[in-house]
């Protein structure tokens, strides 16, 4: 504090002691020199396009994180299952799906940026209440399946540490409820993210397991279509886990929340693409790691988390179980917090009910009720004794695959509406890719449904 006593003849202000300048202040923001009104001025914060590596990091950052953490319990299970059962044979599907995923996610981001509104909000206004209800039901069913899957994942992950799931799951549900409603979630999200980051050891595991490169290349670029039920079902599961309805809704809300305006949509696109390519790479590595270890050693049916964890043995040896468990619990906790809250948010958005963590239970009963219900039911049902954990996780992803086309059709209709999108309306290329994705998914889903139904009646198809 500088308090100067005025003395006769001494300027009280001139001798003000300069407080210690922060060392970096003068140096940072070197400022932009710009010619304004005929003279050059040096300005501080005027945004400059960062150059070189920084530019890429800034653009890629958020997308990379999103891509890395989008692998929750169900995804890990599905990719592991694919690798264990069919070796490298399903890699080409991942390559195709990643392209579709990038297209679909980019459209979600664009819808969000152009309209500043959530997907269900737009469906409600464009197609009326009946269709909005359909979309809400789809999102609710798909997301509930995922929530259930996350708790199954938490249970399975904790059992690797020797903790009973009957203890771990209720505690986890309570913790998530407390963190989110108490507004403390953001503080711990980083811990969950760090835990989930252990899945980044999959690429290392894949390399250390000495995979056979020509086999990988063949698997990735030569399509091998098998029509047997197990393969087709897993295929739909892979689609469902990679492009899930939840992700479309979430991506759009995230873009809206980040507050990007339609005039600056450009860079977002690359962010999305980069994130999706990264997410595709992670899936590829998981499949390679499991294929090179489990599939080759003849272990083609995964029944528990302990089985799946073996894929990490090249990295962690006997600690593979711990590593896998940490990642599984972290990723599942993160998803178990975000999924119910974003579901409740979407439903409230579609029906125009009060929503938001900031409100009280009394002011937003439906919002909080739905959030709590999803958690309680999800945690409760996941404790049913004797469910085949890994099979179950894959089923949930299949359900997502089945429901996905509904959301995709809405998206494609909305994004071709010039009144909504203006300049950002879909181009022909995007329409072709989008509708092709949609049709292919519908065909494979229909095929699998038919196959499974006939299978139940004892008929083999084809």
């Amino acid at each position: 504090m500088t308090r100067n006593t005025p003395v006769e003849g001494i300027d009280p202000v001139a001798e003000v002691e300069m407080p210690n300048l922060p060392g970096r202040a003068r140096a940072i923001h070197p400022g932009l020199v710009m010619r304004v009104r005929g003279r050059f001025v040096r300005l501080r914060g005027l945004r400059r396009q960062p150059a070189g590596v920084l530019r890429w990091l800034a653009v890629l950052g958020p997308g990379l994180v999103a891509g890395a953490v989008s692998n929750d319990a169900g995804s890990i299970a599905t990719y592991s299952q694919a690798g264990a059962k069919f070796g490298y044979d399903m890699l080409w599907i991942i390559v195709l799906i990643t392209v579709s995923l990038a297209v679909v996610q980019e459209m979600s981001a664009r819808l969000g940026a152009a309209t500043g509104r959530g997907l269900l909000d737009l469906i409600r206004e464009r197609f009326g209440i009946g269709w909005a209800l359909l979309a809400v039901l789809v999102v609710m069913v798909a997301n509930f399946g995922l929530v259930l899957g996350e708790f199954v994942g938490i249970g399975a992950g904790m059992e690797l540490f020797g903790v009973s799931k009957y203890l771990a799951v209720p505690v986890a549900a309570g913790l998530v409820w407390y963190l989110v409603t108490g507004g403390n979630y953001n503080r711990v999200e980083r811990i969950f993210m760090l835990m989930a980051a252990t899945f980044l050891t999959y690429p290392v595991a894949a390399l250390l397991s000495h995979p056979h490169l020509p086999d990988i290349a063949r698997g990735a670029f030569v399509p091998t279509v098998r029509l047997d039920p197990a393969y087709m079902a897993l295929l739909v599961g892979l689609i469902g886990t990679t492009i899930s309805p939840y992700q479309q809704v979430f991506q759009q809300s995230a873009v809206v929340e980040r507050g990007s305006a339609r005039h600056h949509y450009g860079p977002e696109r690359w962010d999305t693409y980069a994130g999706m390519v990264f997410s595709g790479l992670v899936s590829v590595f998981i499949i390679i790691a499991t294929a090179a270890t489990l599939h080759l050693s003849g272990k083609t049916d995964l029944n528990s988390a302990a089985d799946a964890a073996k894929a990490l043995q090249p990295v962690a040896g006997n600690a593979a179980g711990f590593l896998f468990g940490t990642g599984l619990v972290g990723a599942s906790l993160m998803a178990a917090a975000i999924l119910p809250i974003s579901t409740a948010f979407s439903v409230a958005e579609a029906f125009g009910l009060p929503k938001g963590i900031g409100l009280s239970l009394r002011r937003a009963p439906v919002f909080f009720g739905l959030f709590t219900l999803l958690l309680v039911l999800g945690a409760g049902l996941s404790l049913i004794p004797g469910i085949p954990v890994f099979q179950f996780l894959v089923w949930v992803q299949m359900l997502n695959g089945v429901l996905l086309p509904v959301i995709l059709v809405f998206m494609l209709l909305l994004i071709n509406d010039r009144r909504l999108m203006g300049e950002l309306i879909n181009t022909r290329l995007y329409n072709v890719l989008g509708w092709a994705t949609c049709v292919l998914i519908v065909v494979s889903v229909a095929f699998v449904l038919l196959q499974q139904t006939l299978g139940l009646m004892g008929v083999r198809f084809p």
Partner: protein
């Protein structure tokens, strides 16, 4: 009384027994608090859309399932430009966002309540309840009558989600301008950004500028970029210089240059001086729209001068403190006094005699957080920022300090930010 969902299920029947489904109802939003239904539209099989004034409807029974008209084929064909101009209840208002100005909330119009008088209908309330959703989905079998969640139309503002509509002079209730700017800004923060921009477009300039000042930073930027250039320019002139500097600092450099070149000279000078300092320093959070007076003025002269300055529309803002300097060119800070001290001092005395020469000052490159803490610790309405030679640069006001302090204090309470 009738719900719109119920009306829309009614059949139109004419004298010759032809039938059609009611298509939509047009209302005149500008006609008072409860806009009357002016036209109804329908479509005969294989024909274009037709319309007739509501007066053409012969029998309307509240409980009945039909509306009678003379001749369904005799309606006027609906013109494109009429469709573009008209406000149609089903197309435009049902399912759209509506603001309740009493609750300060944004609602979704799940159903609309029309009141019947003299054979006409007028729009009276918005039903935002879950019951209305059930009513519409069940075809009117569940929750026939609205009981809760009704919002009086008199206190609502209907937005189209398109700033262009507001610029084109389409009909609005226009009540929104009666709310204080801070409340409008809170509403705008909660709305989709195109709605927020539409809202700001509707406001008179001074209120729009205040509203824009109070908005969250990202939302402010989004809304600003949607405004018509002419309005944007006027608002930049009216807004506080520090907020303008922050706003321009977040624009693309080319856009920022455009606005710097197109704002009035005085505002340009102030903004440019603020833009020199990095954002996270005292210089970056200070404002320089404040009262600066020469020390050799008498109190009477100072008051007269101040009065003149405050009458100018672009000289605004921080008037709680008066900063006394040696002369206008050098602007070396000699002392400060509160506006209250200036008002109660004897007219004949010089400012140098009545000012408080004990000054706590901030340096421009001090970190913003330490500057904010010092302002709050000193329990003053602001602290002057002074350059190396004692030159007065600006003032960090207690409001900017609080914004920083609360951002740090409340930051942790943000739930997943997406859904707060």
């Amino acid at each position: 009384m009738a719900m719109l969902s119920d009306l829309l299920r009614r059949k139109l029947i004419d004298e010759r027994g032809r039938e059609a489904r009611l298509g939509d109802l047009a209302v005149d939003l500008s006609a008072g608090d409860y806009p009357p239904v002016t036209y109804l539209t329908w479509r005969l099989p294989g024909k274009t859309q037709l319309r007739a004034p509501w007066g053409a409807v012969r029998g309307v029974r509240s409980g009945g399932r039909v509306l009678r008209l003379d001749d369904l084929e005799g309606g006027e064909p609906v013109q494109e430009d009429w469709l573009a101009q008209a406000v149609l209840l089903k197309r435009d208002i049902l399912d759209a966002l509506v603001l309740d100005l009493r609750d300060r909330t944004a609602l979704r119009a799940n159903d609309l309540w029309l009141e019947e008088d003299d054979g006409g209908f007028s729009l009276c309330a918005v039903d935002a309840s879950l019951g209305a959703v059930a009513r519409r989905l069940s075809g009117g079998r569940i929750a026939r009558n609205a009981r809760r969640g009704l919002h009086d139309w008199k206190y609502t503002e209907f937005l189209r989600g398109d700033p262009q509509a507001a610029r084109a002079g389409r009909d609005y209730h226009g009540l929104i301008g009666r709310l204080p700017a801070g409340e409008i800004a809170n509403l705008a923060d909660a709305l989709p950004y195109l709605h927020a921009a539409e809202l700001v477009t509707l406001l008179p300039d001074t209120k729009a500028a205040d509203t824009l000042e109070s908005m969250m930073a990202e939302r402010q930027l989004q809304v600003f970029e949607e405004l018509a250039p002419e309005q944007a320019r006027r608002l930049l002139t009216l807004m506080r210089s520090d907020i303008v500097a922050d706003l321009l600092g977040r624009l693309e450099p080319e856009r920022a240059r455009y606005w710097l070149e197109h704002m009035p000279r005085a505002q340009y000078d102030r903004v440019l001086r603020l833009l020199r300092y990095p954002e996270d320093t005292a210089g970056g959070i200070m404002t320089n729209d404040m009262v600066v007076l020469r020390e050799d003025l008498t109190v009477g002269e100072a008051l007269a001068l101040l009065r003149e300055q405050l009458k100018r529309p672009d000289f605004i803002n921080f008037i709680q403190m008066v900063f006394v300097v040696d002369d206008e060119a050098g602007r070396r800070l000699r002392g400060v006094m509160s506006l209250r001290d200036l008002l109660v001092a004897d007219d004949g005395r010089k400012l140098a005699e009545v000012m408080d020469p004990y000054i706590v000052t901030l340096a421009p490159l001090e970190t913003a957080s330490s500057a904010a803490r010092r302002v709050i610790d000193n329990e003053l309405t602001g602290l002057p920022v002074v350059g190396p030679e004692g030159k007065l640069l600006g003032v960090v006001t207690v409001d900017s300090a609080l914004v920083l302090a609360t951002a740090a204090g409340w930051g942790g309470r943000e739930a997943p930010r997406l859904f707060s």
